[in-house]
Point group: C2
Chain length 235, copies 2
DNA sequence: CCATCTCCGATTGCATACGATCCTGATGTG
DNA sequence: CACATCAGGATCGTATGCAATCGGAGATGG
């Protein structure tokens, strides 16, 4: 199992605060733009400002919080443009992920991939926030299976930031990755079809991004945007 | 307005120490594996341990420093495998860079690119360390020209780590990117030839990596490795 | 001679203290 | 009424202090 291993590395308090804050942000318990004073963080986690400060620093490097000098920390509030930038990089990296996976395909790897989609079928998200989280989980595991820890780290970071963007700009019920798309992608992967897998991943991420960000070609076309709102009202 | 003013960057002490340490590591004034005690860092920069600690934390997130709990910080000492991982991700991201640049080519952009290679012709590195730094500069500027700050940040991080790897495993005089390769790449870019640019960048990075890391297909072939040393002796 | 244990110095993990900086809004002036 | 000025409070930036932890040197026993 990926987590829960009794590793030797002592879980420092900073790690706990970092993890806690991270989860709170990704689950939208802390809204984008919310203030994050070091004192308050420290208080609510029962530690000193020192720890809170360090955790906030890390989150800032991951792009989940904005750190304004002498002003304090805020939950990141990415603009639509930033969102597009994030998705662009994510697409590039995940393309790399599937290319590498397809190239190094083995029976073991194929089994692990199949198991992932099988597991996905059983788990149903209970909330919008959880749906976003689960969607990211699949992509993260994919990256980890490449055996390249750096690649996995970047993908985790990007998936987190995408979650934020989706939470901000996503239309309701639009967040979950279609499990079907995941299955066809895995099928291409186990077949070792590098190009097809890459194309599928591209398409998949375009769909995810398209559900959230107004697609570039729709930009400026007011009627297209308004038509979306029209549909929402009947929901 | 979101960008574009002399935003007051109150260059905090942590920033200075961070920048100083970073430079020292990349210039190899601090060898890979060297200990970096918080006290010593603080002393030599004239600040407290607090600052040194924070700077070390940042460097750790950038992969330039290894942080061992309760033991201290060390200059990163990437293994050959880690080096390959780093280059793999870098290749993926820089491919994205050139694709984006080719897609959004404008006369202005073309001019900026030409200026870069022209400038490169004039500057000659005075030392091995400087050569590595200059080589990275070009790739970083390329990433910045995409207008995607996140992409630029990742590329900067990866170029830094590659510098470390090159410093550790590069053969002497092998570090500088051939300026010629840069020029042909820029030519493809200004022509808007997306695929050719991507291919050239791939090839270029393979060459750079190949000069440093033993290419995968050479692995285990002792004679190939030794032949390199043979040539070095006559240098 | 080697394995193990114990203690000690070095160094980190964390908390607290104090000055510095910036925003807020209350006050006075033209 | 608009605007400049200036306290006040909130919050950050940094330094310092103390206990906890780790690794290694030396002692101890086989």
């Amino acid at each position: 199992m990926p987590t829960g291993r009794k590793s030797r590395i002592p879980q420092t308090r900073t790690d706990k605060v970092h993890a806690g804050l991270r989860q709170a942000i990704l689950e939208q318990r802390l809204a984008p733009g919310a203030r994050l004073p070091e004192d308050a963080i420290g208080d609510s986690f029962g530690t000193s400002r020192t720890i809170a400060r360090e955790a906030l620093g890390r989150l800032a490097m991951e792009g989940l919080v904005d750190l304004v000098p002498n002003r304090g920390a805020f939950v990141a509030n990415p603009s639509l443009d930033e969102g597009r930038h994030i998705f662009a990089v994510r697409k590039g990296l995940e393309r790399l992920v599937v290319q590498q996976l397809a190239a190094q395909m083995t029976p073991d790897l194929a089994g692990a991939l199949q198991a992932m989609t099988d597991a996905e079928r059983k788990v149903l998200a209970k909330s919008e926030a959880e749906a976003i989280r689960l969607a990211g989980e699949f992509h993260l595991k994919l990256a980890e299976l490449t055996g390249n820890p750096l690649l996995a780290r970047y993908v985790r970071e990007l998936v987190s930031r995408c979650s934020l963007v989706l939470a901000m700009y996503g239309r309701p019920h639009s967040a979950e990755c279609g499990a079907e798309e995941h299955r066809t992608l895995v099928a291409a992967l186990v077949a070792g079809d590098r190009d097809r897998a890459a194309a599928l991943m591209d398409q998949h991420l375009d769909l995810v991004a398209g559900r959230a960000l107004i697609a570039p070609e729709q930009l400026g076309d007011v009627r297209t945007i308004l038509s979306d709102f029209l549909r929402e009202t009947s929901d």
